[in-house]
Symmetry: none
Subunit: 230 residues, 4 copies
DNA sequence: CATGAATGAGGATTCATTCAT
DNA sequence: AATGAATGAATCCTCATTCAT
């Protein structure tokens, strides 16, 4: 039979008192969270193919095998990361209460929320990017996310209707188009900042720039919604 | 992914004079182009990390080593792909002649051009996506592209000035912002079609949808540029 | 092979008092037996290397660590399985009482017993196969089995002597050869049924076939023992 | 991005003249054969699960990846080994010419051939053992071997018929049974020599023992075939 | 007695790249 | 210009085993 070192390592250095095991958390909740956080970083920075299980384990401060113990495979780990990121977004979206606001204010709030959320959670953009490279294959594979669409569409629909009724908005706008428009303006600016920066020498992420772009998004979507003078 | 090449017992009959080499192009130009095309497909479909030299060689119908002969490394091959894609875009942009047009028409042309170009060249979007995942590191490494910014900025600047002078456009708009706005609306729609489709059940790529979105982009940027009534 | 245990978000509700442990047998005897049964199946089906502790634990419905608690190591578990299987055989062999029978009848009983036992205990054959792959290294390591040879040899010796004396059997036969002959005919048929079936399309395990082969074994060994006409 | 040591290793130790590359055979035929031989040894000694690709590469004196280059996977390598072993046996069987012999001599030749072949090729027995542990799954997967049954059956059929006609053999014997009987007596003795040796202290592989057992097989099958005196 | 958490040492396989012709 | 052979360094994943409770 092949050599097969039969875990003899044991008693060899009898005298050496083992030096207080670095980390035996025994707090599965924490361990899991720590893996998820490390995985998120790695997938965000490197995409699915570029991320390395080894590196994730290292970053999480856990044994590599533990990742398999908790998540089963790289793919399932990635899906867990995706789930968490989307869930957090959906949850934040659900906390928006736009129905009490004036339609114009409502759209402004919505656009600024979306913008600020992505500024504050840059990882999400990278995950979305990665998902689209893979034609959303992992997203579809997620039980949690399949079919869980944005609660914002309903809110936008209501705002557009109220705005149209009050004469503040044009009457023919489509809520999905509005959503995509808002999302596009924010997403592109952040997601493609690197190629943009390579083309235009502009400090895209300077705080005042970020604020200004938020205002630009608001201005643009409101201009689009403004009814045309006859 | 790539079918495993499993040595099919070939070579057995040593004596047989090999029967006229299947493919020995001996047309370096064509060979190179063929590799580049195959590489483009692979990088577009899989990103940098996901692309496989083996698969590219197979798709190009050439020996793997030839890729190294022509391009030196995976990275340099990728840069060549990137170069080609960007060059084509820049070249097409340079062919746009907007200075003769009415400012509103000019912006419309520009926006539609950008939209249609990306619709017609979906690979470009994926390459840009990949570049941004990697923080544009390869773009920076490209001698050709470093600092070669879009010729459109100058054209937009001129259009905005003329439009402002004629009272058709607001006076305070920024050409880079305008460019980004146009680009964002097109890019996001195409680049994120997969996650969009997973969230909203809409046939985003149906021809009439594509046309409609082109119009939406035009409408949006023009609404943004329209001077506010005092 | 074993379904991946993917941490199903359990533990989330920390406060909930765990609801009456699903399974805490607290019947060591049963637990041990259950592990042994599961281990037997796994070693029989997969050999030593192919068997998985995880799977055995799952099949036994116990925690993996319990296997170590009871048996110490995979190897010792395997030896326990081997011990049990051999002990059962030896015990059954010991229950055979051939000394009262006519020699021909005795040989027939013996051969049929051996055949039927292996038909009824197919796992034994697989264990023997596995042992021989490993050059009987575990068998040698077993305290129970080392040197515990078949009680049948003595019985055969007696039968052969009586048969020779009565003129029913040839005088020069060797009891070990007789034993091996009987065992070989049964073992090969069962152990190699898969390659046999792949070569000859025959339903080797149909009940009537099994009976017929039992008779064949008897016939063959008796033909061999029959004294040659001078 | 993760560290990714970009194959810099190159020029580091400029001064050291690399010590004449151990082995760059450039003789694919030899390389392939060498891998196959090493693989055969490993699979024979350890079964499918116990064999290690690493070890095979080491034994073959080749890079591990080369095994994949030539054979694609461990499974396909194993099948290649199986193919070779079975093919060699079938080929040797085909070289037997029994039709010219007296039926008794023919059976004797056949039985001795089978016995001696297995004595001379002990690996075959181990491969057959392994195949049966896996229910012949790889054998079925082999294109070469699927349905390629032993040419001996036809030869045996002819011998039995001739023997029956001449009154040397009983009339009701079945060629497959005869084949299995011969094979069983040889296979069991060799395949289970380790457990046999553990039970009976006998030097089973001593040359004179081997010869004697060959004679025993002949004697047994002929005794079985001998017509019963009415 | 029993369990879930955690680990180190492999193990098969992949991949970009280089060598020799 | 072009190719098949060969390689070293990962890379994902598995497995027996141990720790802590």
């Amino acid at each position: 039979m092949a050599k097969r070192s039969v875990r003899t390592g044991k008693g060899e250095a009898k005298g050496t008192p083992k030096p207080a095991r670095k980390k035996a958390t025994r707090d599965p909740e924490r361990t899991r969270a720590s893996v998820l956080a490390a995985a998120t970083r790695s997938f965000v920075e490197n995409g699915f193919n570029g991320a390395r299980i080894d590196r994730i384990a290292e970053r999480a401060g856990v044994n590599k095998q533990l990742i398999y113990y908790y998540f089963g495979s790289k793919e399932q780990l990635y899906i867990a990361v995706l789930d968490a990121a989307y869930s957090a977004l959906r949850s934040a979206e659900a906390d928006l209460h736009l129905d009490a606001l004036d339609p114009v204010e409502g759209i402004r709030e919505l656009a600024l929320f979306n913008w600020r959320y992505h500024v504050a959670h840059p990882g999400l953009i990278s995950l979305v990017r990665t998902e689209n490279l893979h034609k959303a294959k992992y997203l579809k594979r997620s039980r949690k996310l399949a079919g869980l669409n944005s609660p914002l569409i309903a809110a936008i629909t209501a705002l557009l209707r109220r705005g149209a009724e009050s004469g503040q908005f044009r009457a023919d706008s489509d809520p999905v188009d509005v959503y995509i428009t808002i999302a596009a303006l924010g997403f592109y600016y952040l997601a493609n900042q690197w190629t943009l920066a390579a083309n235009f020498k502009r400090r895209l992420l300077a705080p005042e720039r970020l604020d200004a772009w938020g205002e630009h998004i608001v201005e643009t979507i409101l201009a689009y919604l403004r009814p045309q003078p006859a």
